[in-house]
Subunit: 353 residues, 2 copies
């Protein structure tokens, strides 16, 4: 089978488990609340006869709705099949130089996978011992910069001045700020996109909008960045956004009140969890995301992980340097979290300590 010589061989990203049984699922940072009731209406109102037609390749109705929401002109908004699609196209579009693209050693684990599949040179920069990004690491020569802010899986945020310094210091590179978790209390860099033509801000409907199942993500930047991304997108697949995404997505944007309600609820649960987890001997960087990245003073993370899983509570463990003794726990409903806390109390009080 010598056709195999020409195959692009890669190590794919491994997504968090999607158990088919009913479990307490705190492993993939999903929203514990259903999407807005306006989405339910949109599903019921959806005219199935139009499925025979191609969707609008530009998904203009959805792009316009999001642009409106962000108070941006539509030519500053790019839409994709989740922020993974948006980021993948941004990597393919902007990172074609010989200098390495830079991102933290501990961050969203898809960044190096995209570099591998697209043969993009990259270097990771170590977070400091508190999992903070070291600004100076990004003031050296590079072919691009990618920073998740808040960072995953740490949940830590760098402030806007910090981000702006990096963007300003790198006029020859596209700087991507991946804001998948921004809506849970962090500060967005969106206000900087008109000031810096090299800044691309990426957001998603999969977390705060409770729409992971629909696959919607956006990038915002100056019109030139967006145009280049669209050129590449239209060279890969013209019709990526299917009709349900377009129509159900618009409905989600329209319900600002619901969005604020569920987001506020998740934030309150998170803050309460910080206190509870602290009492149980966990420590963590201060998360502004919909998850907390914890380590226990005595019990190894992997033991807690296995024990939780045995009891149908799924959290995420990364078998990876420096963070092997951490667990990323998604913020669920109060009931789910209380159930986990009760379990941890018993487990940590028990024979193992």
């Amino acid at each position: 089978m010598s056709w195999e010589r020409n195959v692009r061989k890669v190590e794919p990203y491994v997504p968090g488990e999607q158990p088919q049984r009913k479990v307490i699922k705190l492993n993939t940072n999903e929203n514990p609340y259903p999407p807005s009731p306006l989405v339910t209406d949109a599903i019921q109102r959806f005219d199935e006869t139009k499925l025979r037609l191609y969707p609008d390749p530009k998904a203009e109705l959805l792009v316009d709705a999001w642009a409106d929401y962000c108070r941006l002109p539509s030519d500053q908004v790019f839409v994709g099949v989740g922020s993974d699609d948006v980021l993948s196209i941004a990597f393919l579009t902007f990172f074609n130089g010989k200098k390495p693209v830079l991102f933290p050693d501990i961050t969203y684990s898809f960044y190096d996978v995209w570099c591998d599949v697209y043969r993009i040179p990259y270097k990771t920069r170590a977070l400091d011992e508190n999992f903070a990004i070291v600004k100076e690491d990004y003031l050296t020569e590079n072919g691009g910069i990618v920073i998740a802010n808040p960072n995953a899986p740490t949940g830590r945020q760098e402030d806007l001045d910090f981000i702006e310094d990096i963007v300003r210091s790198n006029p020859d590179s596209v700087v991507i700020i991946d804001e998948a978790y921004v809506d849970f209390g962090a500060e967005s860099a969106l206000c900087l996109i008109d000031k810096y033509d090299n800044l691309l801000v990426v957001q998603t409907f999969s977390k705060s909008r409770a729409m992971a199942g629909l696959r919607i993500g956006f990038a915002m930047g100056n019109p030139k960045l967006i145009r280049y991304m669209n050129d590449v997108k239209f060279s890969v697949n013209s019709y990526t956004m299917n009709m349900p995404s377009i129509y159900y997505g618009i409905a989600a944007i329209q319900d600002q009140k619901y969005f604020e309600t569920i987001t506020g609820r998740i934030i309150r649960t998170r803050e309460r969890m910080k206190r509870e987890l602290h009492k149980l001997g966990f420590s963590f960087a201060d998360s502004v995301a919909n998850f907390i990245f914890v380590t226990h003073e005595i019990v190894p993370a992997v033991d807690i992980f296995e024990e939780l899983k045995k009891n149908d509570i799924y959290v995420r463990h990364f078998n990876q340097d420096r963070i092997g003794d951490y667990l990323r726990i998604t913020i669920g409903t109060d009931e789910e979290m209380d159930c986990m806390i009760e379990f941890l109390k018993k487990y940590l009080d028990g024979g193992s300590l």
Copy 2:
């Protein structure tokens, strides 16, 4: 803006127009009939609360349903966001050599766009004067072969022996047979995939299944081909198939009777149209697809195109060498086609002749 030096600059594919007004739309080979009533049921039954969760990254329910339908094991089926996504990933996965990938000069106009965006060397091979593929052209050294069968925009089919000869003669290349239009009366190469490990057959739900708006496409091949494609897919975007695609798509597969009814209806309309168009002075290769690729003995194609458009009848014209005097006319409902024929009768009888 020197970040622009590192931008991947491309000439994107230009999809057919999607007019927002109500017109007789015969320009993008969509199905004139709505999807199966089972799809309507699936939409009504769809549980919107689960949208908060990520979809199954493997879309196993949908893959299994299609594998069942094709009487294949599931590990011989790859699913993507329309056959464009499937083909794009196949190009990225299999065409990484230095030898040129081969495809006809007149064919689906996305093939060279994918080669450009992924920096794949390619050469086109001229169809003969009857728009037939010249087999010998594909028996030379190459880095891969792509053949649409039936071919677009010609509608012509090459028979299975012809396809098999090409596949058998190229054991060192992956041969992709793009069967977007196979269900309208052509012969599929699917029966050959267990015999040849280098054969990938691609099909879509956008034409015969009346689901262009949902974006579903499949590739079928030996398990190794499918595994390589999945590795790349999981390196680009894990969660491509959203929940509506998965659930509504399964419903469409289940309604075999409806599929046969609408497909049969389109075939009958096409055969009648061949007679009508012939009477009006059009000639064309014998189409087995849901479109006819016509040229008129007297009136230039572009004039007919413009005149039809002025009268809200959209067909496709390709401003391209060798086929500039042709129009690709999608088969619509009988009513739509009669309306077009009536218009053409008047127009061609009128002052212009």
